[in-house]
């Protein structure tokens, strides 16, 4: 079972990397969203500094939303999902593998790209570690919560749009605590508020890892049986 799990994970990562549609495209999208902000609100440095944490997180959320709809859809379309559902792995573990692969090919590259984009938005260097830490802790939640949305919209035409509508309300706590951690650090509350926000982010991520695959598997069974 472990071998099947690892094989599925490796396959999904390789597929996404091979198509160039996974990490590279998401980072590129993230970059353009963040680059649009100064063009929209003006190049005033203090204003940008104020907006930076929020804008970086919003860009991150959008970038991971956009890649969500392919999580199960591609496999369902080419028939490999039928093989998966008959294989040794329970659907819950399939969902874990898929979410993990989504995180590796989109979440992780976005986290690595974030500090560079932070410079563009005049984010103080001292808060960079908090930004990266918060994103590292928070992004798995995006993939694991997103898996439920992706599973619910399998087989729906223009499912990506619907998945975004379904998933966004569930991303709000991640956004709030993610931005909160960075802002608290920027405001000089490194100790109290920033740690509190990081702990909550961790709690949300753990809960998402525990509950997300169950929901995704239930949704897949409901829709594809």
């Amino acid at each position: 079972m472990r071998r099947a799990f690892l094989a599925l994970l490796a396959r999904d990562i390789r597929l996404a990397a091979g198509m160039g549609g996974g990490g590279g495209m998401a980072v590129l999208f993230f970059l353009t969203v963040v680059a649009i902000v100064p063009l929209g609100v003006g190049p005033d440095r203090p204003v940008l500094e104020l907006l930076a944490p929020g804008m970086l997180w919003v860009g991150l959320l959008l970038a991971s939303l956009l890649t969500l709809d392919r999580m199960f859809q591609a496999d369902v379309e080419d028939g490999s999902f039928d093989l998966l559902s008959m294989g040794p792995l329970p659907l819950e573990l399939v969902a874990v593998a898929k979410s993990l692969a989504h995180w590796v090919v989109t979440g992780l590259p976005l986290v690595i790209a974030a500090p560079v984009l932070g410079i563009l938005l005049n984010l103080p260097p001292a808060t960079m570690p908090y930004l990266m830490l918060a994103m590292l802790v928070g992004t798995p939640a995006l993939s694991f919560i997103g898996a439920v949305g992706a599973a619910l919209t399998v087989g729906v035409r223009r499912g990506g749009l619907l998945a975004s509508l379904l998933v966004l309300p569930f991303y709000i706590p991640v956004l709030i605590f993610g931005v909160g951690a960075v802002e608290a650090a920027a405001g000089g509350f490194e100790g109290q508020a920033a740690r509190q926000a990081l702990l909550f982010l961790a709690a949300i991520t753990l809960a998402a890892i525990a509950i997300g695959p169950l929901g995704a598997a239930a949704a897949l069974r409901a829709i594809l049986r």
């Binding site: 439920v148 619910l152 919209t153 729906v156 035409r157 619907l162 509508l165 379904l166 966004l168 309300p169 569930f170 709000i172 706590p173 709030i176 605590f177 909160g180 802002e183 608290a184 508020a193 509190q196 926000a197 909550f200 949300i204 509950i211 929901g215 239930a218 949704a219 069974r221 409901a222 829709i223």
Partner: protein, 250 residues
């Protein structure tokens, strides 16, 4: 007449029996709703004093608070019915869940809109990103997503299971959202004059408020019955059409 609770539960799972029972309930329930709402409106508009702080605007409360209450009740009914649908495969439960959503969404919208109309004269702003309003807005989005999911999946059985998963996930998430929004709000220290406690409710306001809340709740259940009946009929139509297509198509 010696049915156990479980047997009774499944006896009412029979849609034909539900249709008969709901038909008998509908007329008295409608009359009761109208009477309660009428009495509530009379007290809310004519026979209650203006608040000493908020003046006449306090009358907005008599539609705002019951709407907000129904927004919560609607989601609770939806989530409970979804759980029953997933666990017991009760054939009426997903009908109940689906029928509750548009009513809940409509009252969530009313709660937001009347809250905005109350906020303008009282706090000087149409919208305040305070914890309560923000989480009600997100609740509204959850309703819309749930309805959109029902609308996009054609087969009612599949749509029912998918929507039930979404409703339950939302039910888990609502307290998390609520808490995170409160945390977010304290971090940002709102600059407005808004206070969560508000005026304590005078006994003279309790009667109209109670009557309106009861009237709204009765209205919810009346509408819910009507919508459930329509939904059962819609599925019957669908099945009849499929049967006809089977006969004619082969």
């Amino acid at each position: 007449m010696s049915l156990t609770a479980a047997q009774r539960f499944h006896a009412y799972a029979n849609p034909a029996r539900f249709m008969a029972l709901s038909e008998r309930l509908l007329a008295p329930l409608s009359v009761l709703t109208l009477l309660t709402l009428g009495a509530g409106l009379w007290f809310a508009l004519f026979s209650s004093p203006p608040d000493y702080q908020q003046g006449e605007t306090v009358r907005i409360m008599y539609v705002h608070v019951p709407s907000a209450w129904l927004a919560m009740l609607g989601y609770s009914v939806m989530a409970l019915a979804s759980a029953v649908a997933l666990i017991f495969r009760h054939p009426l439960a997903d009908v109940a869940a689906k029928s509750a959503a548009p009513i809940g969404a409509a009252f969530t919208f009313l709660a937001l809109a009347t809250g905005s109309l109350w906020g303008k004269p009282m706090w000087g702003t149409w919208w305040e990103w305070d914890a309560r309003m923000t989480s009600v807005l997100i609740l509204f989005f959850l309703y819309l997503g749930y309805m959109a999911l029902w609308a996009t999946i054609e087969d009612p059985l599949r749509a029912a299971r998918a929507a039930a998963v979404l409703a339950l996930a939302g039910a888990i998430n609502i307290p998390v959202i609520r808490y995170s929004v409160v945390w977010w709000n304290t971090l940002h220290q709102p600059a407005s004059v808004f206070r969560m406690d508000g005026p304590t409710i005078a006994p003279s306001m309790l009667l109209p408020l109670g009557l309106m809340a009861a009237g709204f709740t009765l209205l919810f259940f009346t509408l819910h019955l009507v919508r459930m009946r329509a939904e059962i009929m819609r599925r019957r139509v669908r099945n009849l059409r499929l049967a006809r297509a089977d006969e004619g198509g082969l």
